[in-house]
Amino acid sequence: MSSLDDLYRRVIMDHYQKPRNRGEFEDGALTVNMNNPTCGDRIQLQMKIEDGKVTDARFTGEGCSISMSSASMMTEAIKGLTVEEALKMADLFSRMMKGEATEEEIEDADLGDIEALQGVSKFPARIKCATLAWKAMEKGLREQPN
């Protein structure tokens, strides 16, 4: 099952088992709901934005190991990034899933745990799982008032 091991990296399973930033903010936050209609996965993503920066993020939802671990990693990664930087990362992630990002780009971006999700690109049926949380983040940041 070597190719399966490419998909289910230990880091991924770690995020799946012990999701970071799982929960909701008591007070207000930018909230985005998104689902994957073909499979029933759904996510609620909340982000705190201050002075053009994502200061905190949390998520709740239901889904497979790939979608939930990806949400966990994404919320970790965007904390502290400017809106612009977060959107840039979403774009890179999307291209990484399609196999269109160069090695250089990926290295330069210093993605940390997220790099483990690269294996998903070899499983076309699962790419949508990985991108769900990122799509939610993109939607939220693009539609926010400022």
Binding site: M1, G63, S65
Partner: protein, 408 residues
Amino acid sequence: MNAKEIRKLFPILNQKVNGHRLVYLDSAATSQKPIQVIEAIDRYYREYNSNVHRGVHTLGTLATDKYEGAREKVRKFINAKETAEVIFTRGTTTSLNFVAQGYARNFIGEGDEIVITQAEHHSNFIPWQQIAKKTGATLKFIPLAEDGSITVEAAEQTITPKTKLVAMGYVSNVLGSINPIKEVAKIVHRYGGVMVVDGAQAAPHLKVDVQDLDCDFFAFSGHKMAGATGIGVLYGKRYLLEKMEPIEYGGEMIDFVELYDSTWKELPWKFEGGTPIIAGAIGLGAAIDFIESIGIDEIREHEKKLVDYAMERLSEIKGLKIYGPKQRSGLVTFTMEEAHPHDIATVLDAEGIAIRAGHHCCQPLMKWLNVSSTARASFYLYNTEEDIDALVQGLIKTKEYFGNVFSG
């Protein structure tokens, strides 16, 4: 019947997927096609491709004969009274929407009731939900029994003199339950309503006799019964179809066209506007010949044995939960403690085993089951016990794989 021999008639099954013998357990989504069907469609395009009911040339006549011959095969297959009651459509979804738009929308109004269940496929759910919204009719649900099946008693308690239409799946694509259509139809008729049946999961797997069921409309898809995609059937009782307006206007369906009005062809062509799905219908005819050469009752018996065996083997796996009643059609829907349905499907796929994971177009039912997604293995005449053994092996592997990851 000998499933191992039958399997050889399906070219697609003779291949390796991800290095393993293909084990196709997704026939409830779409069935595979035997060589007889593929060749019938191929022959139409190679030898007599022509439009039907137009012109007088030789090929056109041949195509028309074959197309109308397929209609007669369908009529016999479901025991409709006459071919006028057999309309070719694009599939179950289109057939049900025809009934919703052509019948329900015109003959149902405020104060009336439409009765369905929470176990319906979206294509037998949304049309009624939307018609109820548009007409002001009340949408009601027959409560499901604990195992998800529908009892005659529950139907009796839900259907009232105000009920103008009941729509129900014959066989659930998630639970495998086989619903008491004939008994429910009796109740509906007592109050003067009509019975609409979603037969998508029934027609491929068990004997359907629309006169014996006494249903008013019956919808099914060719692609789930060894035919091509894009062809399906709407059966309707003549007096109801006569009452209905055409749904699609255009060529083929008219009698006389005047400047300010037109008249329609007789049944069933009134409902077949435009160039029909000729190759698909001919393929469906071939699929019916194929099924009848084996025997629908034999197919049902074979699937019964398979599903009993599958239920027994799967219940040996700890942490695996099966949904639906014990008495069922040839499919098993389940979840596993260790792995999400998508993850199960991905691990099985690496072993060459194709199953379905997701909500199976039944979000309201998923809600009722209190799950967001399930895994489903579904069988047809070409499946064998060997396939189920492979599934069980694959699931044990999945369990170990995810179990290890978690404990490591």
